[in-house]
């Protein structure tokens, strides 16, 4: 199948690499809003101007849209779904129903197949929440994120006057994770679940105490957490904090039995060297699934909750039953 990439940032580059790992796929090329002359792809894949995308609609089986959730995807996915089978990683949880409705309408009207919110949260974590809650209806589900970089939080710190660069890590509180793993079903406040670590490069002569105070009291981002702020040099920032690791766990513990006498714990965990690389690997196998669904005559918008594991795999049902079941 022929895949194209729309938007060439960290995620687009991740998709470009991930396609190389999948023999049943071929990268048609990259669409960018920048001048193609100034975009050099990692693998030498061709670059086309985003404005020309409709000229290639007969040649592309699935378009993976690699824009941001804040402003790009709400416009791009419904628009491109008029002409292509599309995949995106829309991750603003609260706005998913609205985005779904827009993409569904557009894909249904044009008889295309779309899937939104692919990745790990939303994505693999969501899938696991549904499996866990379906199997153990009587229980509690917990999600822990990290240790990992949140780009939104890092950006928020960078906007504070006197800050040259910043990196924020979300860190799960080990005692909270242990209590959940032990099936204690604890009540956990935001502060009890995660701590925040910030590494900041300050301008020369900046008021570091004021910066630290501004971070720790920032509403929505930091005020509900215990936050540590460490000032470092630009060299240390580049050397130790240029990667984008992430991960986390979804854990459910629940009870079964006539008198609820049996406890069970299910845990799904990720430890990722690179958040965008892993997310793109999920996007690529969702592209395969969407191409299969399109071939089966399914149109409109789906999410990963609507795909069977077999849909994501390059193996046949027979191979899967023999080797993976």
């Amino acid at each position: 199948m022929k895949i194209a990439i729309y938007g060439y940032g960290n995620l687009g580059r991740g998709v470009e690499c991930a396609i190389q790992n999948n023999k049943d796929m071929e990268l048609f090329g990259v669409f960018s809003r920048r001048d193609p002359k100034n975009v050099k792809t990692l693998t030498g894949a061709p670059v086309y101007p985003a404005s020309d995308v409709l000229s290639y609609k007969e040649e592309i089986n699935v378009m993976i849209i690699c824009g941001g959730s804040a402003t790009d995807l709400p416009r791009q996915t419904p628009e491109l779904a008029k002409y292509f089978n599309v995949v995106d990683s829309f991750d603003t949880h609260a706005d998913i129903p609205k985005h779904f409705a827009a993409v569904d309408k557009s894909a249904k009207e044009s008889s295309h197949t779309a899937i939104i919110s692919c990745g790990w949260d939303p994505g693999m974590f969501s899938i696991n929440r549904v499996y866990m809650e379906s199997i153990l209806p009587d229980g509690s589900t917990y999600t822990f994120w990290g240790k990992g970089v949140s780009q939104g939080h890092s950006d928020a710190v960078r906007r504070i006057p006197g800050v040259l660069d910043a990196r924020q890590y979300t860190v799960p509180v080990p005692e909270a994770v242990e209590r959940v793993r032990n099936g204690e079903n604890p009540e956990l406040t935001t502060r009890m679940k995660h701590t925040m670590e910030c590494f900041v490069v300050a301008e020369e002569g900046a008021d570091k105490a004021a910066i630290e105070q501004a971070i720790k009291t920032m509403p929505k981002y930091f005020d509900e957490y215990d936050t540590t702020v460490t000032f470092i040099s630009m060299e240390e920032m580049k050397e130790k904090h240029s990667a984008l690791p992430h991960g986390g766990s979804v854990i459910r513990s629940g009870r079964t039995g006539l008198e609820k006498e049996c406890g069970h714990t299910i845990e799904y965990s990720l430890k990722l060297d690179s958040n965008p690389q892993f997310t793109s690997s999920v996007l690529v196998c969702c592209a395969r699934a969407i191409w299969k669904k399109s071939g089966q005559g399914v149109t409109g918008c789906l999410t990963m909750l609507d795909l069977a594991p077999a849909d994501l795999s390059p193996m046949s049902g027979e191979e899967l039953r023999a080797h993976c079941l």
Copy 2:
């Protein structure tokens, strides 16, 4: 939907309890080969003779077959699929393709929907293997079982002359699990992955050294493992070893990036107080999925690899997108 149970052992009792946790289901009753007068159900559900099962075929939406994989299910599932939508937990991995073919033929001919090999391995572990391998094609998958009781191994020990009762636990080797979690992709022999612990009640005057030797050298069951044998009293056996805990982990580590510079680890783990209780909880949500599939006109045999997470859930697509995605 109305569910019936065929076969009333540990698994059947687990299904009976699990149905109580699911408000969209009702237990029609239990079919047993024993005289119904001698079968007392946990919840007071009615018991019918297995030989009368066809009289009730209009009243039952899905039949959950709770027999054993060795001799019951290969006969029962294809036979009952002629008259019912059926669910089983067939777990002899090597024979799954053959069992699938028999059930598929029977269900297709009668326009019923069947699902085999539901549970956790095969089942949730299989699902996770497929997700992991689809997302990270370049990597290695490892399965660890335990700590938990293997009923097959316990039975094998009980057949040794001089043994009154026995319980065997499979225990994963912590160092092996750690190496896999760290993404080392180690080559692990059978002996390096698990150890075996046996607790044995011997007849008075039995040759304990001979029993220990017979266990440790038993082909297929113990000879490839480091095994410890501990002789205990019948009282201790009843007090400390009457539960059937189990669990385990599926772990895949894989690499992405142009130069494979990023490593990622995915782990799915279960810690279960009761293996049959958890397996039955999976069977029950598979029954829901099969009833939905039957309503969509799907016929023939499926496995959990063919079901989407949404199929297993009592929630609508809209609810799932709003609450779980």
